[in-house]
């Protein structure tokens, strides 16, 4: 049976604590042979938490204009309380009862997103859904340059953007979005 735990002085001369994977001698293990090595750091968390992002009102894309929830993106900024360099990595999941587009039409869109947790959302309307408020040609599969509208008006979004001192959680939804997030340092 091989020796799997070493505490103190390694044959290479370094002091520390090592545990090798089953079947591998800890004294001669290479980097992938360790279950744990005091030569390396575990992931260091910057922040972790949960939040909600409500819709941001903006001018509607239809004739009966006025403040329409979700017509503008919502940017939810959360600071780290310190500067992290290099820029860290952000992970998150989000859910909402539905991801209805900021339109006057009563019928919901993007029903396949509703009630589920997502790591990333950047969705336009369902295939072949005709949204009359923009004109009859605005559909996901055929819309091209001829009928462009603001991406905020015809898409649902959940995007996590890390910076060195904060994350910005960007959502675009007519409904409130619940979010869980985690930021890890890029370090070794």
């Amino acid at each position: 049976m091989v020796q799997r735990v070493l505490r103190g002085k390694h044959p290479s001369g370094a002091y520390g604590f090592w545990v090798s994977k089953p079947g591998i001698d800890v004294a001669s293990a290479t980097v992938m042979g360790f279950a744990f090595s005091s030569d390396f750091v575990p992931p260091v968390m910057v922040i972790q938490g949960s939040t909600v992002s409500g819709p941001t009102n903006g001018p509607g894309p239809f004739s009966a204009s006025g403040a329409v929830p979700g017509a503008e993106r919502t940017v939810n900024t959360i600071g780290y309380g310190r500067t992290v360099s290099p820029i860290p990595a952000a992970f998150g999941i989000a859910t909402a009862p539905n991801w209805t587009l900021p339109l006057a039409v009563a019928t919901g869109q993007l029903g396949y997103l509703a009630g589920r947790w997502h790591t990333h959302v950047y969705e336009t309307c369902d295939n072949n859904t005709v949204i009359g408020e923009y004109g009859p040609q605005i559909v996901k599969t055929t819309n091209t340059q001829a009928n462009q509208v603001s991406v905020n008006w015809h898409s649902a979004q959940f995007i996590l953007v890390p910076y060195t001192d904060r994350i910005e959680i960007i959502t675009n939804n007519r409904n409130t979005v619940s979010i869980k997030y985690l930021v890890l340092e890029n370090r070794s």
Partner: protein, 148 residues
């Protein structure tokens, strides 16, 4: 008060364990450890922050632009290492931007044969079109001791 640290033998297995507060280290379930050397402990073995492509005023065509980064000798020859990376852009005035959020570009990355490959793909033609305005397309990354 629960015993929370064990070094040496736990059951039939040798190693080191630290349990979460309130959990007995000798009896708790795998999900209740802070450290569990009977499982693979997730540790960083390399990190970096690299310039992949500099987008200047002149137009550059749609396509993929990449660099390669040699990894330490300890992982020489290894492929498909587990890693994470953050793609961002820095303007020449120092302002930082989220690349995926404002540009028609995306980052891809992988390790093969002890080399890290970082690629930025322009879905459409690039180029700032403005004199004295440039963008560095960069990635900060960490490689972990683990393989796909």
């Amino acid at each position: 008060m629960a015993w929370r640290a064990q070094f040496g033998k736990r059951g039939a297995v040798y190693g080191c364990w630290v349990s979460k507060p309130g959990f007995d280290v000798l009896t708790c379930a795998p999900g209740d450890f802070l450290v569990d050397t009977a499982s693979q402990v997730f540790q960083s073995i390399f990190r970096g922050d690299s310039l992949i492509v500099n987008e200047g005023q002149a137009a550059i065509g749609a396509g993929t632009y990449g660099i390669s980064v040699g990894l330490p000798a300890s992982v020489s020859g290894l492929s498909n290492l587990m890693m994470m990376a953050t793609y961002y852009m820095v303007q020449n005035n120092g302002a930082q931007f989220s690349a995926p959020n404002i540009s028609q570009t995306y980052l891809s990355f992988r390790t093969a044969g002890g080399v890290l490959f970082l690629n930025v793909t322009f879905r459409a033609n690039g180029g700032t079109g403005t004199a004295n305005v440039t963008f560095e397309h960069r990635a900060a990354y960490t490689i972990f001791r683990g393989q796909f």
